[in-house]
C-alpha cells in the first residue's frame, strides 16, 4: 500500500512548525544569548585582612538575608546584640556597623550582586549605607 498516508502542503506545514518551535522557545535562547556574566565582587582591604565572613562563604552567599533577619529580631525584640559564630568569634549584630564595616564598598559588593539578582532591599531607606561619608 504505497503512498497511502500522503502529507498535503508539506512545505507549508514544515515551515509553520519550524516557526512555531522557534517562537515558543524564544525566551530560552534569547536569555541564553544575552545572559550577563556573574558579577565580580570586590572585597575591601579590611575584609581581605579578616579572611572570613561572619559565617562560611557558602552560608553567607545563600543565607545572609535569613541571618540579617535573625539579627534584627534578636536586637530589636529581644535586646540581645552580640552574635557568637561557630568559632566563638563575637560580632555586634548591626547591618551598618558590622556588615558595612567590612563590606564598606557596598556598591561593588552588595549592590553588584543584588543588581544581578534583581533584588532591591529597602533597608537603606533607614540604615545608613555610607557611614564614612559626612552627608
Amino acid at each position: 500500500m504505497p503512498d497511502q498516508k500522503q502529507m498535503y502542503d508539506k512545505g507549508k506545514v514544515v515551515a509553520g512548525l519550524v516557526i512555531f518551535v522557534v517562537l515558543i522557545t524564544f525566551p530560552f535562547w534569547y536569555n541564553h544569548l544575552k545572559a550577563a556574566p556573574a558579577p565580580q565582587l570586590e572585597l575591601t582591604k579590611k575584609a581581605q585582612a579578616a579572611k572570613n565572613c561572619v559565617r562560611s562563604k557558602d552560608y553567607m552567599k545563600a543565607e545572609h538575608m535569613q541571618l540579617l533577619d535573625v539579627w534584627r529580631e534578636s536586637v530589636v525584640r529581644n535586646g540581645e546584640r552580640v552574635y557568637v559564630n561557630e568559632e566563638g568569634k563575637e560580632f555586634n549584630m548591626s547591618l551598618t556597623n558590622t556588615c558595612l564595616d567590612c563590606h564598606s564598598n557596598k556598591a561593588e559588593f552588595c549592590d553588584r550582586c543584588h543588581n544581578y539578582a534583581s533584588v532591591n532591599p529597602y533597608c537603606w531607606d533607614c540604615h545608613i549605607d555610607n557611614p564614612k561619608e559626612k552627608k
Binding site: 530589636v76 552574635y83 557568637v84 556597623n97 545608613i128
Partner: protein, 271 residues
Amino acid sequence: MEKSRRRFLKVAGITALGVGAKPTWDVLASDSSHDASQPKVKKGDKALSAEQWAMVIDTRKFTSEEDLHPIIEACHKTHNVPDFLDEEHEDYKPANKRHEIKWIWPEEYKHAFPSLENHHVNDRVKALPFLVMCNHCENPACVKACPTKATFKRDDGIVLMDFHRCIGCRFCMAACPYGSRSFNFRDPRPYIKDRNPEFPTRMKGVVEKCNFCAERLAVGKMPACVEASNGAIAFGDLNDHESEVSKWLSENFTIRRKPGLGTGPALYYIV
C-alpha cells in the same frame, strides 16, 4: 513466578519505607543533638538591666527653656531626629510645623498636667518648662492599639518600637494620651543636619518615639538626655531600692502626667 513477584513487592516495600524514613530520621536526630559549636546570640557583657526602668526629672534645676535645649539636642542628634523647624534650611516653610518629629520636647505645666491644673498655680511652676517624652507606661495604651505588634513592652519596662513592622496606621498615635508619637509624613533625611552613622534614620510612613536609649543601655551607657542633664534627671530601676530613682522618689514629692488614666507612667517629676 508468582512467588518471585511477591518477593519482589515485599523487598520493594521495605526499601521504600527505609528511604522514606531517612529524611525524617535525620531531622529528628539533628534536632536532639545540641552541639556547642552552634552560633549563639547573647546580651553584651556591659548591658544594663532592670525590672522596670524609670526616670525622675528634677524640674527645680531648670529655670528657662534654654536649659532644656542641650538635653533635647543630645537626644535628637543621637537618634537622627530631623529638624523640620530649622529656619536656615533651604526648604524651610512655617507649615513644616505639622510634620515635626518629637522624641523629647518642652511643654507648659497646663498642657503637661491638664488633670492637675488649677487656676492658681504659683508663678514659678506656671513659667517652668517641663521636659516631656514617651512615658514608657506600665500599662501602655499604644501597645494594645498596634495591630502588627510593632510596638511592644520589653521585660525591662521599655515600650519599644520595631520599625521593621510598623505599617504606619497611626492607631498608636490616637491611643497615646501624651502625644509622644510622631508620624513621618515625609522623608526625614534631608532635615538631619549632623547624622549619627551608628543609628538608623527612619523613613516616610512610619511612626516613631523615644526608645529610652535601648541601644545605649545595651552597651552600658545611660540615656543621652540623662547624660546631658548635669544631674537634673535620674534614671534607674524602679524596683531596686538602692537605685538613684528610688532614692529621689522617697526623698521628694513627685507628680506624673495624667495619672487618672491608669497608664502608669514611668516618668516622675519633682516640682
